[in-house]
């Protein structure tokens, strides 16, 4: 059995040291998938042949002294809402227009490929990146690798459970209201939703045009930074893509947070009656770690935050509803029953509500600029809960009541990352959300990386994957 490092950074070193080849690595990870995938519902389609060819090409380049950077020879998974050359895109739906699904690489996938990454296959999602699992549809139900009776979170579900079980070392997710950070938190891995516009989103089936992000998911903050370094940057195919310089996201990672001021807001995030036990102690423990790393911790309050947070979910709903309305009229039953319910909630709001949401968005952006004036980062629980059981997800109302703290950051477009911050009483992972100023992802990575130098939650492996990995 081939010894596989847990992270992209460590694997990149092993590939360059010659203790591992990309072909051996890729073969081993597909072998793991043979054992685990039926239990966790990670892949929609595997692309073994093209992945092994890419791995062989990466090895040949290493042998020839060609080094394309840290993703050369690294196995990655792609959420099946992103177009790729190897396989059609389904968006985990029978409704998606097959002509759209037949598109080839979007810019982000093309950048990974050009960097030498080995693309292992297309991964499960919630249908159209929203909704909840539906076993009646012809797609796998993604399950939490820490306890398969529980949900992975969504919608980047297969990226979450695949990284957690080591079926690949990182992957792409998408995030319109939390779909990178929620499965990262529930599966015990790291995930970054960077600044809106930092990464081109063309090649992704749209959900909420002004809220969608494509971003990295991996075990560590460092691995997410390695991936973002490759996928970030302007592309004219996305009119909302920012023509902004891409900095070195890893330049500040030295384990020290000395000189940084990190804020926490507890009144709203821990004040709800439905905050699960384990969340507050885990957040306090995380704050103690950040202080030990040198950060100054300050507790703040944010005016109107409860209204803004609740309202942010509503303001997102109009865009998916507009996109899906023609199909909902003709093909309601072809959607998963929880997908159609979730999207049609947008029909309970009116045009003025959408415009008002966009006016509130302007205010929220100014308010956050003021909040972040004196701080370097804001931390919150990603969600004030462990993953819910699959059996509890019976209707779309769940989304509008659960203590999830991600969507507001899609509304204002700020970079927000989730890193593992321990486990709750049910034995399932909890997430710490780290938010920084627009285009200052490097500060978030610095905080996440420092936190992970003091903790080991991000490299813990679910029991089912430990058995397979030996």
């Amino acid at each position: 059995m081939t010894e596989i490092p847990l992270t992209i950074a460590a694997t990149a070193k092993a590939l360059r040291a010659g203790t591992l080849t990309s072909v051996a690595l890729t073969t081993e990870l597909f072998d793991r998938a043979d054992h685990l995938d039926s239990k966790i519902g990670c892949y929609i389609v595997r692309t073994d042949e093209t992945a092994l060819a890419a791995a062989a090409d990466a090895d040949a380049k290493f042998a020839a002294g060609i080094d394309l950077g840290p993703l050369q020879g690294i196995p990655l998974g792609i959420k099946d809402i992103l177009a790729t050359n190897e396989a059609p895109t389904t968006a985990q739906s029978v409704v998606l227009d097959p002509a759209w699904g037949a598109r080839g690489d979007g810019p982000v996938v093309a950048r990974l490929r050009a960097a030498g990454a080995v693309l292992m296959g297309k991964l499960t999602s919630m249908e159209f990146a929203c909704g909840l699992p539906d076993a009646a549809k012809p797609f796998p139900v993604p399950r939490n690798p820490w306890n398969t009776d529980y949900w992975t979170g969504g919608s980047s579900s297969g990226t979450g459970n695949g990284v957690a079980t080591g079926l690949f070392l990182g992957g792409l997710g998408t995030d319109t209201g939390g779909s990178i950070r929620i499965p990262a938190a529930f599966c015990g891995i790291s995930g970054m939703k960077q600044t809106y516009g930092r990464v081109p989103k063309s090649g992704c089936v749209p959900l909420g045009y002004s809220y969608d992000h494509i971003g990295p998911m991996a075990r560590s903050a460092e691995d997410c930074a390695i991936m973002l370094q490759v996928i970030a940057g302007y592309d004219a195919s996305d009119p909302t893509c920012a023509d902004a310089a891409v900095p070195d996201f890893m330049s500040g990672m030295n384990g020290s947070l000395r000189g940084m001021k990190i804020a926490v807001e507890k009144a709203y995030h821990l004040g709800r009656t439905d905050v699960e036990p384990g969340v507050a102690p885990a957040l306090d423990a995380a704050l103690a770690v950040l202080a030990e790393a040198g950060a100054e911790i300050v507790e703040i309050t944010i005016p109107d935050f409860e209204t803004l947070s609740a309202g942010s979910v509503l303001s997102i709903m109009g865009e998916p509803f507009a996109y899906h309305l023609p199909d909902l009229r003709k093909r309601w039953a072809d959607y998963g029953y929880l997908t159609s319910q979730t999207i049609a909630v947008g029909g309970l709001l009116n045009a003025s509500d959408y415009v008002q949401g966009q006016r509130v968005r302007s205010y929220a952006r100014k308010l956050m600029a003021s909040v972040f004036e004196g701080i370097d980062a804001l931390v919150t629980p990603t969600a004030a809960m462990e993953a819910p059981s699959l059996s509890s997800l019976s209707d779309a109302a769940w989304f509008f009541g659960a203590p999830l703290y991600t969507a507001f950051w899609n509304v204002v477009g700020y970079p927000a990352m989730s890193v593992p911050m321990g486990f709750g009483p049910k034995g399932l992972p909890l997430g710490l959300q780290i938010v920084t100023k627009p285009f200052e992802e490097a500060a978030g990575f610095k905080v996440g990386d420092a936190y992970q130098r003091y903790t080991d939650y991000h490299i813990r492996v679910p029991a089912m994957a430990q058995m397979v990995a030996g």
């Binding site: 209204t307 009229r329 309601w332 968005r361 109302a397």
Partner: protein, 80 residues
Amino acid sequence: MNSTAKPETCPQQKESNEMTEAEAAETVKALMTAAGLTPPPEAMETFIKLYPGLRKMADALYEIPEVRYEEPALIYSPAN
């Protein structure tokens, strides 16, 4: 119209605060019909359950004083 006048309670807010299940059902049915949708009964039950709370959340967005003169975040530009 007096653009600075602000009623203590707007009609929508009053309605949502007092909404009964029957009123929610009637409103949801009208909204779905207007959208050209005929959701199955279980979806309608979810919408009726959700609607009063959603309406209240949406109405709260109109009650933030600082938003009174804000422009929407999505701005059209004829040059781009």
